[in-house]
């Protein structure tokens, strides 16, 4: 029962992190507004949102899949979770100290939205934010799991990684999409700059928080 609750809570966190990423302008919703306005057609918005989603999903998967391989090393399970948590905390601290944004993002042409979204998510450690949640979901529920063949575990873990990345990206796209539609249809661009909040500190702290949770939950299990 407790295990089911934990799993539900972790999936909830995956969705919430998606909504959170979606609302952050740095993850691209203003690009969907600008696409519709620049091309003067409504259909440009869903197209742009899809491109952003593809990039984000790939970026999440790129980070999660290597962990899915490691997660199959059941013997080292808690050590891996602790190490991953520490890594996420360290990246959060790095973002707290280094407030500079990677210049490479400024070199991507506006026509390559999926690439932009992929690299923006990577640079901000968006995928890392999911790692502790994902490893929590992969944690064996009981010792019988230990007897499963490593290959089966690996396949299952990889599948779980794709699911986590997918659900997260769906939530992100929904949140960003709602905001983009609100801006485009009702609010107008006067509100665009009003919705921008500097989330740099909050973002870095979120990474530290999620990482610390990963370390704590691994140590406690």
């Amino acid at each position: 029962m407790e295990a089911t609750q934990t799993v539900a809570a972790l999936w909830g966190a995956v969705i919430i992190s998606g909504l959170y990423h979606g609302l952050n302008p740095a993850m691209g919703w203003p690009l969907a507004v600008s696409a519709a306005l620049m091309e003067r057609k409504h259909s440009a918005m869903p197209k742009a949102l899809s491109a952003l989603a593809v990039g984000h999903f790939l970026s999440m998967s790129l980070i999660l899949l290597p962990f899915s391989l490691m997660a199959s090393l059941v013997t080292w399970e808690s050590q891996i979770r602790i190490a991953a948590g520490v890594l996420v905390v360290l990246f959060g601290i790095y973002l707290l100290i280094n407030r500079r944004h990677p210049r490479i993002l400024a070199r991507i042409p506006p026509s390559k939205l999926a690439l932009w979204s992929f690299l923006a998510a990577l640079a901000h450690g968006a995928g890392l934010m999911l790692v502790p949640l994902y490893l929590g979901l992969c944690a064996p529920e009981d010792t019988t799991m230990n007897h499963k063949a490593a290959t089966t575990l690996m396949a299952g873990n990889a599948g779980a990684a794709i699911w986590v990345a997918g659900v997260h990206t769906l939530a992100m796209t929904a949140a960003g999409g709602v905001l983009a539609v609100l801006m485009y249809v009702w609010l107008g661009l006067r509100f665009l700059s009003k919705t921008f909040f500097n989330l740099d500190t909050v973002w870095a702290l979120s990474l530290i928080l999620v990482g610390a949770f990963g370390v704590y939950s691994a140590a406690a299990s």
Partner: protein, 466 residues
């Protein structure tokens, strides 16, 4: 870094037009003989203020001989680019290059009446990091602050072509050259861009030996000044097309793209056509297939004159060329202002149809022969030169100096610095305001004007207005 975007950043040109009007202007002062340090004048442009039309604060630099010319902000509405996602810079610093010394000053104007020097970049550092000299136009864009230069390396700036370099918009460190592939570009002057459409346009004046000690008549008559405009893949940093406007179109200077990012055209002013002394404006545009074209859409004829009334340089021509030295486009892309520095006229064209501009208004003031006085009775030395339009398009400000050594050739003797303003009415009526005439300290000349909160040659907008 702020928690919210700077309130002077606007998503669209239309929003910028509705923003609160400017109360202060920043104007550069230069000492033409280098006997005094150059400076930044803060001018009161609030008609309800007691000190309206006066310099309320001046900041002078610790060096002499910089020759201030153009300058710009560290950040503008381009920070709201959806590709950036971090719109939290402040419009706070003015980047002022010395076009003669190659020194760059970063001035903190958060408290305009207490403006102070934030950083100085020495010419040696600029040269070492970029191989460029004579920094000129400033624009803030995707990778930071872009600065065009007029000179390459070496004592006279001819060792290698001039180009654009990029500065970090927070630390003001010089990051390096912009160009990956400059194509045939070997001279430089102005540049601007369309950020969402990802292209840049640059222009050509001449190399340092062609301007530093004055205009070189032989070079002009043999068409050796710049006459091409270059189109760039902005983020790819490569020259994608060069259009030669024709070698008789000497000195293609100011580049003014439409502010509305869905409009893919703009203008470029040409100082003089050597076949007939006309001034000219070209309209350039981007075709569906991504190629560019340009066409001459405005010509301004010279005015015949008695050689006795003309400076040495022009006596042989018995005419005053208009000398189109600066142009500026209102934020609604409706009016193009064209400074005719030689004849002493400021033209206002309705460019609603950019291929068919219509002369809508004209102000006469100064001029080589005309020497028209200001409506307040004061003499106006030189002619209308650097022009800046208020965001709402209702006030047009300008100064009167072109470049120290060129001033002396076309207008021998000290004629006095000035800054004036013309009001623009609802239907485009265009006339000088007789209450606004800024006087400058003795021995100085006045150059570019920047308006508090942005103006019509600063901000790049990333979203369309309609």
């Amino acid at each position: 870094m702020n928690l919210r975007p700077d309130p002077t950043f606007h998503a669209t040109a239309a929003l910028a037009m509705k923003a609160p009007v400017e109360k202060l202007a920043f104007t550069l002062m230069l000492s033409p003989d280098g006997s005094q340090p150059d400076g930044l004048a803060v001018v009161d442009v609030d008609p309800s203020s007691k000190t309206y039309g006066e310099i309320v604060h001046s900041l002078f630099m610790p060096n002499k001989g910089d020759e201030f010319h153009h300058f710009g902000w560290n950040a503008c509405s381009s920070a709201l680019s959806p590709l950036t996602g971090h719109a939290f810079y402040e419009r706070r610093y003015l980047i002022i290059p010395g076009i003669r010394s190659s020194r760059i000053y970063v001035i903190d104007v958060k408290e305009p009446l207490d403006a102070k020097i934030h950083k100085i970049i020495e010419p040696e550092e600029l040269m070492e990091k970029t191989g460029y000299s004579r920094p000129h136009t400033i624009h803030c864009g995707p990778e930071g602050i872009y600065v065009s230069t007029l000179g390459g390396g070496g004592e006279d700036g001819t060792d290698g072509p001039p180009g654009i370099f990029i500065m970090d918009c927070e630390t003001f460190d010089i990051l390096g050259r912009y160009e990956m592939d400059r194509g045939p570009q070997d001279k430089h002057y102005d540049f601007w861009w369309n950020l969402p459409k990802d292209y840049m346009v640059s222009s050509e004046w001449g190399l340092p030996p062609q301007f530093e000690n004055g205009i070189v008549p032989e070079d002009l008559l043999s068409n050796k000044y710049g006459h091409s405009i270059h189109f760039w893949d902005l983020r790819g940093r490569t020259n994608i097309q060069t259009i030669d406007l024709g070698e008789n179109h000497q000195m293609a200077l100011e580049i003014r793209p439409a502010h509305e990012p869905t409009k893919e055209y703009g203008f470029c002013g040409v100082v003089v056509d050597t076949t007939n002394l006309e001034g000219a404006i070209f309209t350039w545009w981007r075709n569906e297939d991504g190629t560019f074209d340009a066409k001459k859409t405005i010509t301004i004829p010279p005015v015949p004159a008695d050689p006795d009334d003309l400076p040495e340089l022009l006596k042989g021509f018995a005419a005053v060329p208009p000398l189109v030295t600066d142009i500026d486009l209102s934020l609604d892309d409706k009016y193009l202002y064209v400074a005719c520095w030689g004849t002493g006229e400021m033209h206002q064209y309705d460019v609603s149809d950019p291929m068919n501009p219509v002369l809508n208004g004209k102000v006469e003031i100064g001029g080589i022969v005309a020497k028209k006085k200001h409506p307040n009775g004061s003499d106006f030395g030189y002619g209308p030169q650097m022009v800046e339009i208020s965001r709402d398009g209702k006030r047009v400000y300008w100064t009167n100096s072109l470049y120290s050594t060129w001033d002396d050739q076309f207008y021998p003797g000290e004629r006095g610095a000035a800054m004036v303003m013309a009001d623009v009415g609802e239907n485009g009526d265009f006339a000088l305001n007789k209450d606004f005439f800024v006087k400058f300290p003795k021995g100085y000349r006045s150059h570019q004007i920047r308006l508090e909160g942005g103006d019509c040659s600063t901000d790049s907008f990333c979203f369309p207005s309609f």
